[in-house]
């Protein structure tokens, strides 16, 4: 098991007003994803959760039955961050909803710099219907463009509200601005697995889990993504792991897990926490003891529906036995 000294992943949700950040936040808070999320929002008033799910509400923090909390940023992001980091038990992940006029890349500094945190990803939402007009707006055009450029992953929301032709041109246009995965989402159905970082349960390699879990809890039958857990038969050579992280298609939206990494100079393979979102990836030594029950560890991958070839991904990392 991973102990709580592991830095807590911080995910920044950016995007201009109306891009759908609040819808996503509401879904994350009430979702059945098994994670204890701490979501920091600018505007409590927008948070819309079934009162039956709320266990307490003290003005600054709303606590939910599923273990998630929602916290108002008010005027001090650092203070709110401290407040949720001090929760006992600590949250699995912190999600910061950046304000509509913030540069999410700047907010991200809290993720990679705040004591006890690590930056998971900057996810920027863009409204398929309005993003191109906003990018030309005399007051916010430059800002909206800069928000997209700061993303590790862009979700184009409300994609069901435009024609397929328009959607394609919007996606192309976003890709021309931000060289990161750009994914359309509909009806606010953003797959929670895309937003969620690796949780302790993902890392709990001792737990019995099916190799392929199928779609994740927030999605319906027409889900855009699917999730698989890759059980690695043996340690992975570092160079090979790094190559895979750099070269795997952006259809693989997220990668997270524990991998036993073998260094070029030999020696025992050591467990490492592996994370990848868009172009951002990291391989960090795991800081606590992990019972080795699979030979090489496990990686959870979230991929665009229909593109999963688990065997090929495993083959990129480890030679077939």
């Amino acid at each position: 098991m991973i102990s709580s000294v592991e830095p807590i992943p911080v995910t920044v949700l950016g995007g201009y007003l109306g891009a759908g950040k609040t819808t996503l936040v509401n879904r994350l808070l009430s979702g059945d994803h098994g994670r204890r999320l701490a979501v920091l929002v600018n505007d409590f008033g927008e948070v819309n959760i079934d009162v039956d799910l709320i266990t307490s509400h003290d003005g600054e923090t709303i606590s939910l039955q599923n273990g998630c909390v929602c916290c108002s940023i008010a005027d001090a992001l650092g203070e709110s961050l401290d407040r949720v980091l001090a929760l006992d038990p600590a949250p699995d992940q912190v999600v910061i909803e950046a304000s509509g006029v913030a540069d999410p890349a700047k907010v991200a500094a809290y993720g990679y710099g705040w004591p006890g945190c690590r930056l998971d990803a900057v996810i920027v939402l863009a409204d398929a219907e309005t993003i191109q007009a906003k990018a030309k707006d005399q007051f916010v055009g430059e800002l909206v463009t800069r928000q997209l450029r700061g993303a590790d992953l862009v979700l184009v929301t409300k994609s069901d509200l435009v024609s397929p032709e328009v959607l394609d041109s919007v996606l192309d246009w976003v890709r021309s601005i931000a060289a990161v995965p750009v994914l359309p989402v509909s009806r606010g159905e953003v797959d929670s697995e895309v937003v969620l970082a690796m949780s302790r349960s993902d890392l709990d390699v001792g737990s019995a889990r099916v190799v392929t879990r199928g779609t994740s809890p927030l999605t319906d039958a027409e889900a855009m993504f699917e999730t698989a857990t890759l059980a690695l038969p043996g340690p992975v050579n570092r160079a090979r792991l790094e190559a895979a992280m750099s070269l795997w298609s952006q259809d693989v939206v997220r990668v997270k897990g524990i991998v036993w990494v073998a260094e070029a100079d030999g020696g025992n393979a050591q467990p490492h926490v592996v994370q990848r979102v868009g172009l951002r990836w990291s391989i960090e030594p795991a800081t606590t003891n992990i019972d080795q029950e699979t030979e090489g560890g496990r990686l959870v991958v979230v991929v665009l529906r229909g593109t999963l070839d688990a065997a090929a991904l495993i083959n990129d990392l480890v030679d077939a036995e």
Partner: protein
């Protein structure tokens, strides 16, 4: 005690066009009953018990000066600190010389270290790399190995500390090392890194005793500048009820010779979630708690783009010289929605607005509101007014806007911004006043203290001369006339605050608030404004010498 006190003077400068000068002011119960000559006042003086007070027989009585925009609470945090800026500060408790360069800064720090109690942290505010060069942890270790030394940026954008400060803060340096905006070796905290530093310092800086001592210094500063009314242009920045209690405790006293017009603000930029209706209801209820000196009215503050000193202004093409970006403090959509709610509720809106894109956003909103629901006498005021164009000024005149300008920007920033931020053309025309005057727009000048010294005569001097700290005249055509510069700290400042029937000029019925000068500014002329000695003030008929 007599019913009426008549203050006679070498001259009374009324700021009333009907009778610009007089010889005496008769006062009853803190209000003026008549301005004129002793001879013409005979009907009053024959009818009532009176005394003649000739304390000012060798002085000039002016309407009490008004600074419509400053921040007592921000000042309360800063005033207990040591000032080490590139410009001089004449504060009531000491004259602080300009700290012109790196050597001067270090000398000043050594001097301060020798002066302070052994354990006390040394907070020095005013460092700016453009003038002072880089300072780092080792430099400050050289100042003291035992005392926490903190050097704070003029625009609050960075903080440099020594090893003793790390120990005092009790900060986890290994964690800090991972922060991209903390440079542990240099001892530097920037942007979000500052949040980490404040976390370890706020208990000290915002402690009740220190905060109230800071507010008390602010009290002295206001009096020292000759002000009898000020506007707190964003009441509640550090928590509304806390600030209200501190203000009442420190300011609402018989020996406080000024009143404060308090302006609540749209909390949106701070992430408050209340509805527009609830916010308006709250704002409309504030006047019920007014005390004698602390007053709310129907004026409300909003924020457009970022700070001017912090270089976060939003600019139209060609943008910032170095390609950096400004910031919206309020998203334009929210701005329009909240401004409309305020406008339709009949509130008078003041907007913090620093760059020409900020002006554009605010102006186009005002134009929209005027066409939806025309209003007269709305007092919509552009605050700070850093960068603007002459064409925007013409549109402001069309829709009845006012301006409350930080003219002092020209003095401290015009050369540095010409070289580093904006280029010469725009920098030389910052805080344009000549255009406002030619367009017939009434304007005040303010200090936004501690952005500028809270010295109305000094701000009027910058407005009328546009001399900067390097001694250059920056855009002579944007100078205010002498008359407009004086009005900007008296009658037009009152108008901007909606208090023109109470203060800002001397005539029957107004508050007996005077600033007593050794010379008449109209005799001295624009060049000498800032050097006119101030005897003190009269607040509601009572004398308060400096």
């Amino acid at each position: 005690m007599a019913d009426i006190t008549v203050f006679t003077a070498r001259r009374v400068r009324t700021m009333e066009a009907s009778m610009p000068t007089a010889e005496a002011v008769a006062v009853r119960d803190g209000r003026i009953v008549e301005v004129g000559t002793l001879e013409n006042m005979a009907p009053w003086l024959d009818g009532y018990d009176h005394e003649i007070d000739d304390t000012f027989s060798d002085h000039v009585i002016m309407p009490g000066f008004i600074d419509p925009h400053l921040h007592p609470s921000m000042a309360a945090v800063l005033l207990p600190m040591e000032f080490t800026t590139v410009v001089e500060w004449d504060l009531p408790w000491s004259d602080i010389g300009a700290v012109g360069g790196r050597v001067e800064l270090l000398d000043r720090l050594i001097e301060l270290d020798a002066k302070l109690e052994p354990e006390a942290p040394l907070f020095a505010w005013g460092h700016h790399p453009i003038w002072h060069g880089e300072v780092d942890r080792e430099t400050l270790n050289g100042i003291s190995a035992t005392r926490p030394v903190i050097v704070w940026h003029r625009g609050y954008h960075s903080m440099i500390v020594n090893d003793a400060c790390y120990r005092w803060m009790d900060i986890d340096l290994e964690a800090a090392r991972r922060h991209p905006q903390i440079d542990v070796d240099r001892g530097a905290f920037f942007e979000t890194g500052l949040g980490v530093a404040y976390r370890h310092m706020n208990g000290f800086l915002l402690g009740t005793e220190r905060f109230r001592a800071g507010l008390d210094r602010m009290r002295q500063v206001i009096h020292h500048g000759g002000q009898t009314t000020i506007g707190d242009a964003a009441m509640g920045m550090y928590g509304f009820e806390d600030e209200w209690e501190h203000l009442k405790a420190v300011m609402e006293r018989p020996d406080t010779p000024f009143r404060i017009q308090l302006m609540p603000f749209d909390m949106g930029p701070l992430g408050d979630e209340e509805s527009d209706e609830a916010m308006i209801e709250r704002i409309l209820a504030y006047p019920q708690r007014n005390t004698h000196r602390l007053r709310f009215s129907d004026h409300v503050k909003m924020f457009a783009d970022g700070g001017f000193f912090a270089e976060l202004l939003m600019l139209k093409s060609p943008g910032h010289l170095d390609g950096r970006h400004g910031e919206w403090m309020t998203p334009p959509e929210r701005f329009e929605r909240v401004a409309r709610a305020f406008w339709n509720a009949g509130l008078r809106i003041h907007v913090h607005c620093t760059g020409d894109l900020g002006v554009e956003m605010v102006l186009s909103t005002l134009e929209k509101l005027q066409s939806e629901r025309p209003r007269f006498n709305h007092r919509f005021t552009f605050e700070h007014f850093g960068i603007s164009s002459a064409q925007q000024v013409a549109r402001m005149a069309e829709v009845g806007a006012l301006a409350s300008v930080n003219a002092y920007y020209v003095y401290e920033l015009s050369r540095a911004f010409a070289d580093h931020t904006l280029g010469y053309e725009r920098a030389s025309q910052m805080s344009r006043l000549g255009s406002l005057e030619r367009a017939g727009i009434r304007f005040a000048v303010h200090s936004d203290f501690t952005m500028a010294p809270a010295k109305p005569l000094n701000n009027a001097w910058v407005a009328a001369n546009r001399l900067n700290e390097s001694g250059e005249v920056m855009c002579a055509n944007e100078r205010a006339s002498l008359d407009a510069a004086i009005k900007a700290i008296t009658s037009n400042a009152a108008y901007v605050l909606g208090l023109e029937d109470e203060i800002g000029s001397l005539r029957w019925g107004k508050q007996a608030d005077f600033t007593i000068l050794e010379a008449d500014p109209y005799d001295v002329g624009a060049e000498g404004l800032r050097d006119i000695p101030i005897w003190g003030t009269v607040f509601e008929g009572e004398k308060f010498p400096i």
